[in-house]
Amino acid sequence: MSLEPRVLDPPEQATLAALAEHLIPAAHGMPSAGVVIDERRLRFVLGARPDLLEALRAGMRPDLPADPAARLIVLERDEPETLSKLLLVIVGAYYTDRLVRDQLGYPGQQAITIQSWKYPQYLEEGLIDQVLARGPIWRDPTTGRTAIEDRPRTLTTDTHEIGRPR
């Protein structure tokens, strides 16, 4: 059992859960943020962004309306900076949850090996050839008009060499 003090006291935690539930309820196969955002998720967000703690506490103040919708309206009107940070805490805590990400089909930013030896699809489809066929589009400063070149453009990159540093 952790001896660290909780980020929020029980009334604040209940306020946050209601707010999170209001913003991101269970629907369309996704869980409620009110359920997902527990002490562990909050600690994760605040570990990465300790500067958000003040806004989180400010957004849970008991002098603000108890109703989540009314609370959000007051924050948006009077303390937009606090609201912006509070939204980041809630969204950050929810979307860094493993289950939520799995259900979204988002695996995180992955390392993918580039297959630079493969002939690109756009070359296969002749999409570069079409650009080349239109000729130059740069403006020649000596004439002020689109440049005229005396022979047709061809792809100068030797595509057989793709994948090998020159």
């Binding site: 980041l88 390392a111 690109p120 999409l127 650009v131 740069w138």
Partner: protein, 537 residues
Amino acid sequence: MATEPADVLIIGAGASGGVVARRLSEAGFRVVCLEQGDWHDKSEYRGPELDWELTMRKQWSTSPNVRGLPQDYPIDETDAEISPLMYSAVGGSMLIFAGAWPRMLPSDFRVRSLDGIADDWPIDYHELRPYYERTDREFGVSGMGGDPAYPVGGEDPPLPPLPIGAGGLKVARAHARLGWHWWPEPNSILSVPYDGRRPCVQRGTCQQGCNEGAKASTDLTHWPKAIAAGARLVTGARVRRLETDATGLVTGATWLDREGQEHFEPAKVVVLAANAIGTPRLLLLSASPAHRDGLANSSGLVGRRLMMHPFANVGGLFDENLESWQGQFGCSIESFEFYETDERRGFVRGAKWGLAPTFGPINAALPSRAGTQVWGADHHLHVRSHLGRGANWGIFGEDLPDEGNQVTLSGTLTDGSGIPAPEVHYKVSENSRRLLDFHIEKASESLLEAGARTVEVDRLMRYSGWHLLGTARMGDDPKTSVLDRWNRAHDVPNLYVVDGSCFVTSAGVNPTSSIVALALRAADHMVETRFDQQVPV
């Protein structure tokens, strides 16, 4: 501290500072560099971690005002419509830049002659092309030669192009149908192993630091070589002012270490590479009875003509999952279809478009760049419709120089060392607004043709001042320019400025490839004229 003056003292260890340090130290110059930031290790970057989208909004924000790190200086931007972005470290803002690497076009150097506005550069595209080719090799640029947006000839990018992704392919096909230009974007990001560095893994987190070292930055590509050749790099060194002697030559820099201890670094030649906010700040801070309006400022143009490329984002949302959270960031493809002036459009000059990936679920869930936010049960539908289903055209409009857009010194705001902070005054011109409106319309047409079911637009992004240019322009006439054609101050023959401050006009492309090509050209000139260089006695 140093008693023997350095042959060359460089202020700033970013893109241009790294290029000049390597060239000069390998040519046998005794080089010292003062950098206010520090080294970063690749393992510090948060891209692979769960907190990536949280820390990108604070610790790894591109805005020094948001980060508020000790090595940052604050910027008073209350009178600016766009926030300047930068990073203080060895490698500089390259640590957080996207890596897109297009060159300027021939017409960019002749705006006055062609369009009757702004000014011509004292050099042209063909003069700069050999330096583009050399810096492409130094940094490791991936791309495809033969682009008809540029003149024929010269070397291709040294590495094959990066993948264009599912979104890039859709848009390329759409442009084929529309008969519009597109091309795989050149990026200073490795597509294959090169120079001891690993290739890109398409993680899509380039703007928060590259964990692979695939994205070029001078802490990887230049500083190790410069140091091996004898350069001395001092980190945590915040320069307070440049000093001059009775003859008007610069003698070195006074700087503060992390503990606030003051030092003086003497030098025969000083090179400013502190970006187009930091460089004019330092020149203005170096005012003295002999230079009441700041150093090298007889033209009155130091700090003026700030250009930052007003930026619009046009995002197409598709029905299918494109996994658009992955891919170089960087761009996949670019278009120059509407780059050159067509006066029938009601504005001059144009913009390059670059197609970029999107972010992860936190970004999809929060209010979008276009201001859309959905809460309640439909929030889940909103996130599913955005996450991985986007393709974003980023539009950099050419920003024309205006002397009213400028950097001055704040009378109230200071950095952590008590040095006056820069104050940025910047308004978006009517030409830029018309230009963006036109390009937004055309980019929307591109994405709808590609199959997007809807398009979301951020017409003018506030946090888009990545490209800092023009505050110490080059030119042949000392009355109308700060630097000569070799980046040397007209007023101070042993002072050079090699960052984006030297730009005469901004072009409509990402500028880093041009900044480093110009810096290498200036360094070559220093080497060639080393025996004629005036130095303090």
